[in-house]
């Protein structure tokens, strides 16, 4: 599996942007009936992708919701794009959330709206209607996910994979500074999952958007850490072509509400922790 680990380089475009963190968790705790997250701390540097791994119920989705301010932690501090969301009023959070894109686990598309209205939702909020410019941007976003032909369809008329792709188009249409993916491939077949991961990689490499991705599918995580998007070929290709690349993708493993691993794919593969070894196998 070591062949999956790409060689490291720091391209200029990213290095110039990597002077800050877009998301910072400091000793964050949250409990419902029992503690779910217990003092977790991590940072998401600008331009980097962090993959959150862990078994079901370890608080992966919760971490995304906390980052978005949809839930408040019991203790600790969360800073997103330089603003502390922990004690922010809901009204102020709306402003911040416009700079963040989120892809929900079950897509969360508005079922009474067409694909175009779903994708343009944020933009329609600003203008009140679908203008020619918004229509063009919707088509551009849908072209990115290769679903241009579905513009007038309703979510119920799409397959599960297509719905996820529309959700990605909806998340990226405003070119957010951060993208949060909540199990974008959950419940999908391997071929469709690969298509979704290719889109995530494309977004990472073409637009260099910082992102936090939750998944419990190791295969997807390793694909992301070992492939890059080749613009000339217009497809995702393995990063083992002899060129030195930094895919800016790191792993974060949660267990029992704590972070038990943070590092690159190479470091993960070298890790000797028995739980992680078992998890990887």
């Amino acid at each position: 599996m070591s062949s999956l680990a790409p060689q490291v380089e720091q391209p200029e475009s990213r290095a110039s942007q990597s002077d800050g963190c877009v998301i910072r968790f400091e000793n964050v705790e949250i409990a419902f009936d029992h503690p779910v997250l217990e003092g977790i701390s991590f940072q998401l540097p600008r331009g980097e992708t962090k993959i959150l791994l862990g078994t079901a119920g370890t608080g992966k989705t919760l971490t995304l919701k906390l980052a978005l301010g949809l839930l408040k932690p019991d203790a600790g501090r969360i800073t997103v794009l330089g603003e502390e969301v922990t004690h922010m009023r809901e009204q102020d959070l709306f402003e911040l959330r416009r700079k963040i894109g989120m892809v929900f686990q079950e897509s969360a598309l508005f079922d009474s709206l067409t694909v175009e209205e779903n994708v343009a939702y944020r933009l329609i909020e600003e203008t009140g209607k679908i203008t020619d410019e918004i229509h063009a941007r919707v088509l551009e976003a849908l072209r990115f996910v290769e679903l241009e032909h579905t513009v007038n369809l309703f979510p119920a008329e799409l397959s599960g994979g297509m719905r996820r792709r529309v959700a990605i188009a909806r998340a990226i249409i405003t070119r957010p500074e951060v993208l949060l993916y909540d199990s974008p491939t959950g419940g999908l077949d391997p071929v469709t999952s690969n298509t979704i991961i290719e889109l995530v990689v494309k977004q990472r490499d073409v637009y260099q958007t910082s992102s936090l991705l939750v998944t419990h599918r190791l295969q997807d995580a390793f694909t992301m850490a070992s492939h890059y998007f080749d613009r000339q070929q217009n497809k995702m290709v393995p990063a083992t072509d002899g060129n030195v690349r930094d895919l800016h993708t790191k792993f974060l493993i949660l267990r029992d509400g704590k972070i038990i691993f943070e590092g690159t794919v190479a470091e993960l593969l070298r890790c000797t922790d028995p739980y992680i070894r078992e998890y990887l196998s």
């Binding site: 949809l70 709306f94 969360a108």
Partner: protein
């Protein structure tokens, strides 16, 4: 570990009242804040108002008719059959029009709102809305509350009118009363306080119906079963709160207008 904890139940109930009060309050303060969703409000007004019209007309008409029918025998014993119009008019305008319209609209729309918003909640559509920087209370709750308040006002007027018409049909065709006498007594019986009571109550009822429906929808959890529970609870809570509020409102207004 106790199976039944009164403290926990009390905490839960107080928490629910607090959440409802916050949502209801925000639905009102949102009216004075940007953005305002006029198109959504019109859409809801059409759904609540025009959509409820058939049931409001039917219940209003037959309530007025049965009122005339039931009271005629008693009035006849005292030789006061000519007061049928007055009785139907006062009962419909002050009490039955607003309350029955409220119950009909609650049955149709509070449940509709709870199930629609509940489905959106459990399928993460409300979270998606928040995630996209849109306030669900502004986008979903305030338009429903405003539409319900405005439409309840007009629906009650329609209910009163068709109720009077129902009473007239019975009085004219079955009791042999003069049409002019019926309408004159019905009209002359009404004072400003009666009309105020008849038009003020629906406004409060409209607010209760929409805010309760939205509250149960927005707090739904647990998948389709949760949506079903929220729908059922919204109907029960809206109807009970409506009747209880009606009593206190009537007492308050009766004191104010010195009945």
């Amino acid at each position: 570990m106790p199976i039944f904890s009164p403290t926990e139940i009390a905490k839960e109930k107080v928490g629910a009242v607090q959440d409802y009060s916050l949502l209801a309050g925000r639905s009102l303060t949102n009216i004075f804040q940007q953005p305002r969703y006029f198109a959504d409000t019109l859409l809801q007004a059409d759904s609540v108002g025009v959509g409820s019209l058939p049931i409001v007309i039917l219940t209003g008409f037959f309530t007025g008719a049965v009122l005339a029918l039931q009271t005629s025998s008693t009035l006849q014993q005292f030789g006061s059959l000519s007061l049928t119009g007055k009785l139907v008019s006062l009962s419909m305008v002050r009490e039955l029009g607003p309350v029955l319209t409220g119950l009909m609209v609650a049955g149709r729309n509070a449940t509709g709102m709870a199930s629609e918003l509940g489905s959106m909640k459990v399928s993460e559509q409300i979270d998606a809305m928040r995630a996209m920087g849109v306030d669900p209370t502004k986008k979903l709750v305030t338009p429903r509350v405003v539409a319900s308040v405005v439409m309840m006002f007009f629906l009650s007027i329609i209910s009163d009118l068709v109720g009077l018409a129902g009473g007239f049909v019975i009085s004219y065709f079955f009791l042999g009363l003069d049409a002019n006498q019926y309408w004159t007594t019905a009209y002359q019986a009404l004072r400003f306080g009666d009309v105020f009571m008849g038009l003020g109550k629906p406004v409060v009822f409209g607010f209760i119906i929409a805010s309760i429906g939205c509250y149960y929808g927005m707090s739904a959890k647990g998948g389709t079963q949760g949506v079903g529970f929220a729908t059922k609870q919204s109907m029960v809570a809206a109807s009970v709160l409506l009747i209880v509020t009606d009593f206190f409102l009537t007492r308050l207004l009766m004191g104010f207008f010195q009945y």
